[in-house]
């Protein structure tokens, strides 16, 4: 795993953004973590910047554009814009329909449950 690991967190609940950032930093202190409270903000960033080699942790239930909508838009982007990035849903939803829908997207690597644990971050990054 590369040392300059970057995470993008998208969750309308800022406590989760704070919490997940803290958990990531606990495992990888030098990781770059960006947090967005809306899909729109995240999408604007993704469009304006290259986001290669980034791990996305995306909440599903958010106002305006939900996590599915966001993944949908990201899928439309040219491949080089997101090269080497991985996308995970990170949600408190227990609905297996959400899980099935989440995993039906080609670019989505997994469906994780909140709150993310230190072990899970280790598993995802190999740290």
């Amino acid at each position: 795993m590369k040392n300059n690991l970057r995470f993008i967190l998208i969750d309308d609940d800022d406590i989760f953004n704070f919490l997940h950032q803290a958990v990531i930093k606990e495992v990888i202190p030098h990781a770059e973590v960006l947090a967005f409270q809306s899909s729109k903000g995240a999408m604007d960033f993704v469009k304006s910047d290259k986001v290669s080699e980034t791990i996305f942790l995306i909440d599903i239930r958010m106002p305006e554009l939900n996590g599915f909508d966001l993944i949908h838009s990201i899928q439309e982007l040219p491949e080089e814009a997101i090269r080497g990035s991985r996308f995970y849903f990170l949600t408190s939803s227990l609905d297996d329909r959400d899980r099935a829908r989440g995993l039906s997207f080609d670019i989505v690597s997994g469906y994780l449950e909140k709150p993310i644990s230190i072990e899970k971050i280790r598993e995802l990054t190999g740290f």
């Binding site: 609940d13 919490l19 997940h20 958990v23 408190s92 609905d95 909140k114 709150p115």
Partner: protein, 399 residues
């Protein structure tokens, strides 16, 4: 006929509307029925208008006698209901008198009623009255069938309305169901979300700080409460999911599913548990995998929860056997067991057999509901201090 006239009682019986006129066409005698409609001592012409024959008959004795072979229809001038009588004239006493024998001419029962006519007012030989009766009977039958038809139509309409109502109600119910599903989904999510963030923050605290022993204890207690609340929310969601979602049949391996679930539970519980499966060679079943997973998770976690803490080898047995038309599964444990009075209530909604251990009282209720949905059955036997066996069946389904 002459003889008849002498016996006026008899002629009254035979022709209640008879009358006799003399040579001057003065009415000298009337039958008992006709007399209800006219005064005596009145001339024939004053009393009657000859309706038929329409031509060629004058109001004279001779003219009538020469037409005696014809049928006469006479309408009663003094009757406001246009009552007519129909009959023939018979000359009497060397043509000194004329006898009219006839019967009222009516077309319907209503006309009879209007003139207060009775059956006894008709000539004894009169086929008209029978015809009238038949017509009447026909009319009544027609009326009845008409009424029946209306009844049927009404009944039909009622049924149609009912089925329309049922459809509307069905749609409403479907809507309510889907709304409820959404509602439960949103509520469970919105309740769970902040709970999980507290849980995560607590984990962070435990990880990051060397805590004072009291603080650590209080925070662990808080964590326990959070976990309990989360479990309740999850079970409520599970219940509503089982109740509302359609059964989704698929092939899956029961042995593998049981192992996976046991593995998950063991990871969480941190207890050296033994899992002893006793399975047939073929363990693939055609059923609702996610519902069976809920069921096994409930049964296995009960076995863990109600284990005897003093023993060193807590274990869960899981056996499967194949019968004629169903599978039988037994989840057995060597746990604390229970008394009969508790045992018989464990499948009730919200029933908890022990206040010492956490629980929602929903697990076995949901398990029973799951098996209801899948056409199976569940039962339990237990010995206090020895352990519990939960037996459930599933129908063998063909894909």
């Amino acid at each position: 006929m002459i003889q008849l006239v002498k016996e006026s009682a008899l002629i009254d019986l035979l022709f209640p509307f008879y009358f006799i006129v003399d040579k001057q066409l003065k009415i000298i005698k009337t039958g008992k029925s006709l007399s209800r409609f006219m005064r005596e001592e009145i001339s024939f012409e004053e009393a009657f208008e000859i309706g038929s024959p329409a031509y060629g008959v004058e109001y004279t004795c001779d003219s009538i006698i020469s037409n005696a072979s014809k049928v006469f229809i006479l309408s009663l001038r003094q009757n406001k209901n246009n009552l007519s009588i129909k009959g023939q004239f018979v000359p009497l006493h060397d043509h000194d008198q004329l006898l009219f024998v006839g019967s009222p001419l009516v077309n319907s029962e209503e006309e009879m009623k209007k003139n207060n006519l009775l059956i006894s007012d008709f000539a004894l030989h009169d086929s008209q009255i029978e015809l009238l009766h038949q017509i009447n009977a026909l009319k009544k039958a027609q009326q009845r069938s008409e009424e029946e038809k209306i009844d049927l139509l009404k009944h039909n309409e009622d049924l149609l309305n009912l089925s329309r109502e049922t459809e509307v109600k069905n749609n409403e119910l479907r809507k309510i169901n889907s709304e409820l599903d959404n509602f439960v989904y949103c509520v469970s999510h919105d309740l769970r979300s902040p709970l999980l963030s507290i849980k995560g923050l607590l984990a962070l605290v435990f990880n990051a700080y060397d805590l004072n022993i009291d603080v650590d204890k209080y925070l662990r207690m808080a964590e326990n409460s959070i976990n309990r609340l989360d479990l309740t929310i999850q079970e409520i969601l599970e219940y509503s999911r089982n109740a509302r979602r359609a059964v989704n049949y698929e092939w899956f391996d029961m042995r593998i599913l049981a192992l996976e679930i046991f593995h998950d539970i063991q990871m969480l519980s941190d207890i050296p548990l033994q899992f002893i499966p006793a399975m047939p060679l073929e363990t693939k079943v055609y059923s609702d995998k996610s519902r069976i997973a809920v069921l096994l998770r409930n049964l296995f976690s009960n076995a863990v929860k109600f284990r005897r803490t003093e023993i060193l080898d807590p274990r869960i047995g899981f056996s499967m056997s194949i019968h004629n038309n169903h599978y039988q599964f037994v989840v057995s444990d060597n746990g604390i067991g229970m008394q009969d009075d508790i045992l018989k209530r464990i499948f009730e909604m919200f029933y908890r057999g022990s206040s010492a251990l956490p629980g929602t009282g929903l697990g076995l209720y949901i398990s029973k509901e799951v098996l209801n949905k899948l056409g199976g059955d569940i039962s339990a036997e237990s010995t206090l201090g020895m352990g519990t066996n939960i037996t459930f069946t599933l129908p063998i389904q063909q894909a």
